[in-house]
């Protein structure tokens, strides 16, 4: 059958899915993205009232072991032509082979583990930079801005957290005086063993690779134990939910990075429209998710009514989004010229943009 | 009832009074200077006796004299602190309990210990399995050995249940049997392991005199099939009536050994154990 490009009517009633955590311990980030996708689909359906596209939310709880089952569910539903997600690196690793085997195209707006693009999956596309850019940037910030010469690195052993922490360690070299691992996904809430070790190490900064809930609790327990060195963490912690988890006082001063620009900086009226639909300001990756969805929708609009057709469309896509200009290079990576990394800071109970970190 | 009538009638093979036969008979179990301590308590103190093939030996003594402990040492539940126990010429110590059973020693318990949720038949089958060799593999694939041994075991079990007189109850769960039936079942189960030596720990406890009489007959029959019997019992009528020889323990020490009549008239035994002669009560 193949990609039947001509009969545009065929694509009507198709579905796209969002694959990511809507519940669970790192849901806040998934919800940011889902809301972005919702906005894209909403706008599309308003403009194409005669040929609507349905959005299927697939809640992975951010957990790799749920992912294959959920991917299977998406694959079973033949109406689903493309997927925004998987949002997290761990679930991407688990589900990627299935999507690849089924030929179902995925554009992740946020999964940043570099190796995802090196698996040879024909269906993998990434709409943001990866941790080869974020990790060194975070390391440089610690070295050059915070000027910390003794750093403790903690990670949550996840595909994302461990990978990011490794990049940071690589950059900081001997400045890393100790490291430890915790469990993510809300499995651990008591960190006294780590805290004891960090406290004894007497460091100038702490880097955490992982997601916001654990980061918050670690920060809180560090502060309670009298450790005041600042915490630096990546995009997985970059949400106000971190502040809720740590408590405002403990969270103050935390540095958060992201291989993305602040969502409020997005072009055009994105921020207003987003707020009008969802009632909240856009958060980390709301904009990239919106863009990723629009790429799929553009394909459907162009009459791609099959999975093969849409996959080909995405592969050859190039165009403007609200967060960046999109063009995918080898392995499905975003064109490196488009990648930006920003640092944010927790200030007065809010996450505020701090500065764009220059690429090294 | 007098034991002078009993004793000569008993030894089936030898045909001579037990005591005289001792040197010529084959020793089956040798308890050799066994001492067993529990912390400060000396439960067995240099106990020394021999059990010969084909006899019924009584083991008596006051409460806490160490009789049950002696059984436990023989069957591998306790290890003697000093001394040796030899069964059919081999040392017991270091042997696993099931190995001892397979060597031909079987026992019953002072407090009945059946498999309550198995039927009477199954209880006996477990005993019969002691000498079976059906492996997991042959059971899994029902190889010929499985069929052969299942049939064999079944026949043997029914025969033994018949022998102790509870064949009619064979499909009943052990725990539903009456006290007396349970004691019988214990004996059948022990016999199913094809013992050379059967050790009975107070088999008549809680029996009334009529039932004790039946038990006495049963023990004799068992002996007549060639099984040696070691019997712990406080009921003197039974002990005197059935045993060929008696060993008396007190405070873990052997204080007397001999023919029932001798033991009964031994002043030490009377002082330590019997008190006034039985019928004076």
């Amino acid at each position: 059958s193949g990609g039947d490009d001509t009969a545009s009517g065929d694509a009507c009633g198709s579905k796209i899915a969002f694959f990511g955590a809507l519940t669970g311990s790192s849901a806040a980030l998934g919800i940011n993205e889902h809301n972005g996708v919702k906005l894209a689909v909403d706008k599309y359906n308003k403009e194409n009232a005669d040929c609507k596209v349905e959005l299927v939310p697939l809640d992975s709880q951010g957990s790799p072991d749920q992912a294959p089952q959920l991917a299977q569910k998406a694959i079973d539903d033949t109406k689903i032509l493309g997927i925004v997600g998987p949002a997290y690196s761990g679930e991407s690793e688990a589900a990627g082979p299935l999507f690849n085997e089924a030929g179902l195209v995925t554009i992740t707006p946020s999964a940043t583990r570099p190796s995802l693009a090196e698996q040879g999956w024909k269906t993998f596309f990434r709409a943001v930079g990866n941790d080869f850019s974020q990790g060194p940037a975070a390391g440089n910030y610690i070295k050059n801005v915070l000027k910390a010469d003794k750093v403790y690195v903690i990670d949550d052993q996840s595909a994302y957290g461990a990978g990011l922490a490794d990049e940071v360690k690589k950059l900081l070299g001997p400045a890393v005086v100790g490291s430890d691992k915790v469990q993510g996904e809300g499995k651990q809430v008591e960190f006294s063993a780590v805290v004891t070790k960090v406290k004894a190490a007497n460091v100038k900064a702490i880097f955490y690779g992982g997601y916001y809930q654990e980061a918050g609790l670690i920060r809180k327990q560090l502060t309670a134990a009298g450790v005041n060195a600042p915490l630096v963490a990546g995009d997985g912690v970059n949400d106000v939910a971190y502040i809720t988890s740590a408590g405002a006082a403990a969270a103050e001063g935390t540095i958060l990075t992201c291989p993305c620009q602040p969502a409020t900086e997005a072009r055009g009226t994105f921020a207003q429209e987003y707020k009008a639909l969802n009632g909240t300001d856009p958060g980390t990756y709301s904009d990239t998710a919106y863009d990723a969805a629009n790429i799929l929708l553009a394909g459907i609009k162009a009459g791609k009514a099959t999975r093969e057709g849409l996959l080909e469309f995405v592969k050859g896509y190039s165009g403007e989004g609200v967060a960046a200009s999109y063009k995918f290079v080898e392995g499905g990576e975003l064109d490196p010229a488009q990648v930006k990394v920003w640092a944010f800071k927790v200030q007065g109970g809010k996450v505020v943009p701090d500065q764009e970190i220059p690429k090294s | 009832m007098s034991d002078t009538e009993q004793t000569p009638a008993v030894p089936a093979q030898a045909g001579a009074p037990a005591v005289e036969a001792v040197p010529t008979r084959e020793p089956l179990l040798e308890v050799d200077n066994v001492t067993l301590r529990f912390g400060g308590v000396v439960a067995l103190n240099e106990v020394d006796f021999t059990l010969y093939k084909g006899e019924i030996l009584g083991l008596i003594g006051p409460n806490g004299a160490g009789k049950t402990t002696c059984f436990n040492a023989m069957t591998g539940i306790y290890q003697p602190s000093e001394g040796q126990i030899r069964f059919r010429g081999q040392k017991i110590s270091g042997k696993k309990r099931h190995q001892i059973t397979r060597m031909g020693m079987a026992r019953t318990f002072q407090n009945i210990r059946l498999f309550p949720e198995m039927t009477a038949l199954e209880n006996v089958l477990v005993g019969a399995d002691a000498h079976h060799k059906t492996s997991v593999i042959s059971a899994l694939f029902r190889l010929p050995r499985y069929w052969k041994e299942e049939r064999e075991g079944r026949e043997k079990a029914e025969r033994l249940l018949e022998f102790v007189g509870i064949r009619k109850r064979m499909h009943e769960f052990a725990r539903n049997l009456s006290y007396g039936e349970q004691r019988r079942l214990e004996i059948a189960r022990a016999l199913a392991t094809d013992p050379v030596l059967l050790c009975l720990d107070e088999p008549a406890a809680g029996f009334n005199p009529a039932e004790k009489e039946e038990l006495l007959q049963l023990i004799r029959q068992i002996r007549d099939t060639g099984v040696t019997v070691l019997l712990i019992e406080h009921d003197m009528r039974l002990v005197m009536g059935v045993t060929d020889r008696i060993v008396v323990l007190e405070f873990g020490k052997k204080i007397a050994e001999g023919l029932p009549a001798e033991v009964r008239d031994n002043p030490k035994v009377i002082a330590a154990y019997l008190g006034v002669p039985d019928d004076a009560a």
Binding site: T23, G24, S25, Q157, G178, D180, K181, V182, Q183, G186, V189, E190, F191, S192, A193, V194, T196, K197, K199, A200, Q213, L217, K220, Q221, A224, A225, G226, S245, G247, A248, A249 | -
Partner: protein, 316 residues
């Protein structure tokens, strides 16, 4: 293996371990008591603990405290602590009693086989934990920093703070109290009698149901206090923490010799300390591994725990 990580932090690892162990010990007492009397691994005891921990937290919320509140003044702090302790102990004891009434007593009345108890215990545990999970949206709840973690003094170069003192002190006091209660008092003797032979105990005039209730109440109250101490120390509570903590506490009880109150304390402290040493030596992700490895190894050499069983049936 990071020997430096172990030796350079030896003091801190020890104090953290003891503190953690004290909480294990308090929870372990409940397991040990119930196990001793009913021969039942009361899986739901971890939820008894959780109930106390939430009760303490909500008490503070009731006083208008949240995780960002600053509390000062020794008197005020003591008041908050005591109030929460009473509420937590009552809530936990109440939860324990309800569990016994709803999940165990009906089975006892029907002479159910032991495995049935284990399954209702597991069922009750899952249901209660999930109820808390649903109620709290499965989100961690923050507690105010009531007791300061500033070092009060140093012992051999190791700083000791008020939380550590409070936790270890409370565990010791409660454990000694319970030990005296069980071994000296008449009710205590009744508890031990029911533990060993419930029918005969009834023949001696012991009211079995009342004794069982007492056991659940005593174990529950200890767990409630443990819950409060947990809040004070960790300042964060999630519905699901009971499971692992309960498992560790039960492990502690078994390490010490189940049914043995002093064993529970010893086992708890030992477990806490070993865990923390392992975290220094191998990394904290191996902490729980070390805890269970300790259990397996120890039971191989001492099949009835460090101090042996006591409340329960001696295996004669």
């Amino acid at each position: 293996m990071n020997f430096d990580g172990l030796f350079s932090n030896f003091g801190e690892l020890t104090t953290t371990g003891l503190t953690q162990g004290a909480i294990y010990a308090l929870v372990a007492l409940g397991y040990t008591l119930v196990y001793g009397v009913l021969r039942l691994i009361n899986f739901a005891h971890s939820e008894v603990f959780i109930a106390g921990a939430f009760a303490a937290l909500w008490t503070w919320n009731g006083f208008g405290l949240n995780q960002d509140s600053q509390v000062s003044g020794v008197g005020t702090i003591i008041f908050y602590l005591l109030a929460a302790m009473v509420v937590a102990a009552v809530a936990s004891a109440g939860t324990a009693t309800v569990i016994e009434r709803v999940a165990y007593r009906p089975l006892r009345k029907r002479n159910a086989p032991p495995l049935a108890f284990l399954i209702t215990a597991i069922g009750a545990s899952i249901a209660i934990a999930e109820a808390f999970g649903v109620y709290t949206d499965r989100r961690p709840q923050g507690a105010p920093a009531l007791v300061s973690s500033k070092p009060l003094f140093e012992v051999a170069g190791v700083p000791i703070d008020a939380i550590q003192l409070l936790t270890i002190g409370a565990a010791l006091v409660m454990m000694i109290g319970l030990d005296m209660f069980i071994n000296r008092s008449r009710v205590g003797r009744g508890i031990r009698a029911v533990a060993q032979d419930a029918n005969t105990a009834a023949l001696m005039g012991v009211n079995k149901d009342r004794i069982i209730m007492m056991v659940f109440i005593a174990g529950g109250a200890m767990a409630g206090v443990a819950g409060l101490l947990y809040d004070v120390r960790i300042q964060t509570l999630t519905y699901s923490v009971g499971f692992l903590l309960g498992l560790k506490a039960f492990t502690a009880a078994v390490l010490g010799g189940i049914g043995n109150l002093r064993g529970a304390l010893l086992g708890g402290l030992l477990l806490g300390v070993v865990e923390n040493y392992a975290s220094g030596l191998f990394g904290s992700e191996w902490k729980d591994f070390a805890a269970f490895a300790l259990l397996v190894v120890l039971l191989m050499f001492r099949p009835t725990g460090l101090l042996g069983e006591s409340l329960g049936r001696a295996r004669a």
